[in-house]
Amino acid sequence: MSKPPPNADLTPLPDYRQVLQPSPFHTRLVEHCPLQNWMSWNGYQTPRVCDVLASEYFAIRSTCSVMDLTPMEKYRIAGPDALKFLNRLVTRDVGDLKAGRVTYVVWCNDEGKVLDDGTLFHLRAGEYRLCAQHHQLDWLLLSSIGMDVSIQAETHQVAALSVQGPTSYALLTAAGVVGLDQLKPFGILHTRLRVFDLMISRTGFTGDLGYELWVEPAAALSLWDALFAPAQQGLFDVRVIGLSALEMARIEAGFIVPGDDFNTAETTVRADHDRSPFELGLDWLVNFDKPHFTGKRALLRERARPVMRRLVKLRVSGNKPPMDSFLYDAEHGRRIGTVKSQSWSPILKSNVCLADVGYSNGLVPSQIWAEIYYQKELEWRATWAECFMSEKPFWAHPRRLKTPPRNF
């Protein structure tokens, strides 16, 4: 009875008192989080807001923000059939994704409904990392039957930071990173900083200039300290941000979050509560010309039918927050959908949202109005606001694409 569990040294018993797991950056992170406003992101103790939300948002848009990205689910995919496996998994053609490049992907079940989205990193020839919003190991392993591919969950083995904002390039350069000037959007740089290996990708979730930094957990604190050294010398304003600021920026940039903006297929219980890439407005990610991929047949059938509904970007007039609002087709007076994510955009001085909208006979509703409930001093009021559909991101600054980037 006193024998230790056989796998005790690999995966320690969880401490039942520690509900949320600390990330490798935790000891530094807490110093920047006087608010102690924590939430769970994939089980990690993650700040919702570190200090002041408005400052954190403007760090992304005006100077430089740092966010702990470790909780993002990461999978290492390698082996002779790695590419074959990935091209069968995702809907877009990743056959021409060169080593050192990153691309955005979604993957579906056999019914053509989206299981999750994420970024695919071609780290080195034949070696990939798939970053996902939700836990995907079971699906990846199920999908790899019969293929010579190794799939390892590595969320806990890779510490990551997201450094986003117009001075992110200048900051990283001041911190000692060499070679960033030639790194193009969606490119990967393998380098060394101080005494550790560092991988940098020019990627992000903010629609602005920014980078994601990947190191072994042992190097996490050194990386953090290197990033904050220039700020300590008074060179740059760098601010740690929580998920609330990121939420504002990502809605402005038009990025979707599985589980928030649509129900992922694997967790869907009710019929028709899951969504296809077409229904999410991700038609551009579906490539029917490449070899067979999971969900292809269902998506081919769907393409032949009129569009039934779509996740759309709406600018909402006025200043009342369209939180959980019902949407109506003003022309026919029918309820056509609901708002999924919404934010006040401090840059645009407008409410912006992502909304699930029904299309009647494939026709885009001509006039959409949101029914908004809001309160003033505990009194609830109702109002209507006209919504304007936006095909493009609400906000995307050209500086995000410039190579070499500007210093601010």
């Binding site: 230790p4 056989p6 005790a8 039942y16 089980g43 056999d110 219980v269 019929a271």
Partner: protein, 537 residues
């Protein structure tokens, strides 16, 4: 002689529920109970001074919240406190804890298999699909598929509509689910032995089938479809023991003017001119009523309290062949203190939930093999709870009451059950627990051991079957208890059934009692007092 409107035979929770809704509709109702206490298998008894035992049913989840609300059971003293998690102890000294806290539960599962921790998401969503389907039928009378009545046709259309909400592939999966074994079902999701063993236990509880027997996957659903305050699959303790459930229903019944007579065992249902008109007690007393409702199991109802002449031959034949095999035992213990479980992290909340000591499907199947050979399992599957960790009303301060459900225990053992054999069965359970708790045996103050023999003799469950009939597809929905008798109406006029032998089956659910009341009130042209399902859209 006074003539009641309704006699309900048996003051188990379904009989009381049935009576309460009838009394609420203004009928003069009397419930006749053979024992000196109400509740039947939903009872709290003080068998050792200062200790209250939930000595039969022991946890609560399936009880329909609609009935709870409609009978105002909270005001009548019922309080159901959710349990926290569950644990399976392993022979190698490790354990698998299904923590109440989802973040920790996931990390603990990852410790055994990272893949299983992710597969659990798919498993939960799939199980919820089937739960949603089944739950919609709990408070409805099953349609008779062979009937041409408009109501049956409408109900059948409702059933089809619910199924229509499934995609084609889900429909196939659902049909497979009803016919698969739990082991095969779980192996579609999980790889770790301990995870498979942990989740399959719920599928053999109360069932004369093994983890590899077809049909056991459904039993998992039957145990998972309940909820506590909307948390589907959660279980709870009734404060004061399970008897609090029946006491609250009895109190509600009395508030509507109904009456419960204990120590009033019914010997026969009187029938004249094809109509039930009362009962004769074992004492010889005659009690007449316009309506007689049996809350006894199907075998007792049709083979014991009804006279053979009043029952069609075909129904007698069905009743004789009705599957209700005793397969479980119960060990209830008064403890001098809280047992130590050194294999668990110190201070762990895992003792607050269901505890198990079986770590592989193979051991579960071997336990079943013993039962098939008419032996109690040498290495049984137990579902053990210590409700006094939450409930101060069931034992003196610092002391504990332990309730252990044991699978398997046969109706017959070679040479017949004796007290010595019963005690040996109990000892094997105590030995299993003490393998994981070194101080356990020192804490035993009083032990009650119940085999199917005691459950049948004391509670009145034929063969000690806790569900009053196996939960297999041939005995569910419009087949429960028998085709043509699934709408709670007996073979003679004015005679009805309301026990767990009827749809939707066993567990402390109250649904058969309420559904039966609805049919009775309909026949009598009275206002329906039974609640509608809280629809889950």
């Amino acid at each position: 002689m006074k003539k009641h409107d309704v006699i309900v035979i048996g003051a188990g929770h379904n009989g009381l529920t049935n009576a309460a809704f009838l009394a609420k509709a203004g009928l003069d109702v009397v419930v006749l109970e053979k024992n000196s206490y109400v509740g039947g298998a939903t009872a709290s008894l003080e068998l050792h001074e200062g200790w209250i035992y939930s000595n039969c049913s022991y946890v609560c989840s399936l009880f329909r919240p609609e009935i709870y609300q409609a009978l105002d059971l909270g005001r009548h003293g019922l309080e159901v406190v959710p349990l926290q998690g569950s644990v399976s102890m392993m022979q190698n000294g490790d354990h698998f804890g299904s923590y109440h806290q989802p973040e920790i539960r996931r990390r603990e599962m990852m410790r055994h298999s990272k893949r299983d921790a992710d597969a659990a998401i798919r498993f939960d969503a799939d199980l919820m699909k089937w739960c949603r389907l089944i739950r919609a039928f709990l408070l409805r009378t099953p349609p008779d598929p062979a009937s041409f009545k408009i109501r049956d046709a409408m109900e059948f259309a409702y059933l089809l509509k619910r199924f229509h909400s499934l995609s084609e592939s889900q429909l196939y999966e659902f049909i497979r689910f009803f016919t698969m074994s739990i082991a095969e079902y779980l192996e579609q999701y999980f790889e770790s032995d301990i995870v498979l063993a942990h989740f399959s236990g719920g599928s053999i509880i109360g069932t004369g089938l093994g983890v590899y027997s077809p049909g056991t996957a459904y039993v998992l659903l039957h145990h998972a479809m309940g909820d506590i305050d909307g948390n589907v699959g959660s279980w709870g303790f009734a404060r004061g023991g399970m008897g609090s459930v029946s006491k609250a229903i009895a109190s509600s019944l009395r508030s509507y003017g109904g009456e419960v007579r204990t120590e009033a065992e019914v010997a026969t249902i009187n029938v004249a001119g094809g109509r039930a008109n009362g009962v004769m007690l074992a004492s010889g007393e005659q009690i007449s009523a316009k309506v007689v409702v049996s809350n006894l199991d199907a075998k007792r109802t049709f083979l014991q309290v009804m006279k053979p002449a009043d029952v069609p031959d075909k129904l007698l034949h069905r009743a004789r062949n009705f599957k209700m095999r005793g397969s479980s035992g119960k060990v209830n213990i008064a403890l001098d203190g809280m047992p130590d479980f050194p294999g668990l992290p110190s201070g762990s909340p895992l003792t607050l939930g269901h505890m198990h000591f079986t770590d592989s499907l193979e051991r579960l199947e071997r336990a079943y093999d013993d039962w098939k050979d008419c032996r109690w399992s040498a290495d049984p599957y137990v579902d053990m709870v210590i409700p006094t960790q939450y409930d101060p009303s069931m034992a003196p301060p610092g002391k504990h009451m332990m309730s252990i459900f044991v699978q398997y225990c046969p109706v017959e053992v070679e040479g017949g059950w004796t007290d010595a054999e019963r005690d040996a069965f109990g000892a094997s359970v105590i030995d299993q627990i003490s393998d994981y708790s070194p101080n356990f045996k020192d804490l035993l103050l009083h032990t009650e051991i119940r085999t199917p023999r005691e459950l049948e003799a004391e509670v009145g469950l034929t063969e000690g079957n806790i569900f009053q009939g196996e939960l297999t597809l041939d005995q569910l929905m419009f087949n429960r208890p028998f085709p043509g008798y699934a709408q709670y109406r007996g073979p003679v006029k004015n005679m009805y059934m309301c026990s767990s032998s009827n749809h939707p089956g066993g567990g402390v659910m109250g649904a058969p009692g309420a559904n039966s009341a609805r049919e009775i009130l309909r026949d009598l042209g009275r206002k329906d007092t039974t609640p509608e399902d809280f629809e889950d859209d």
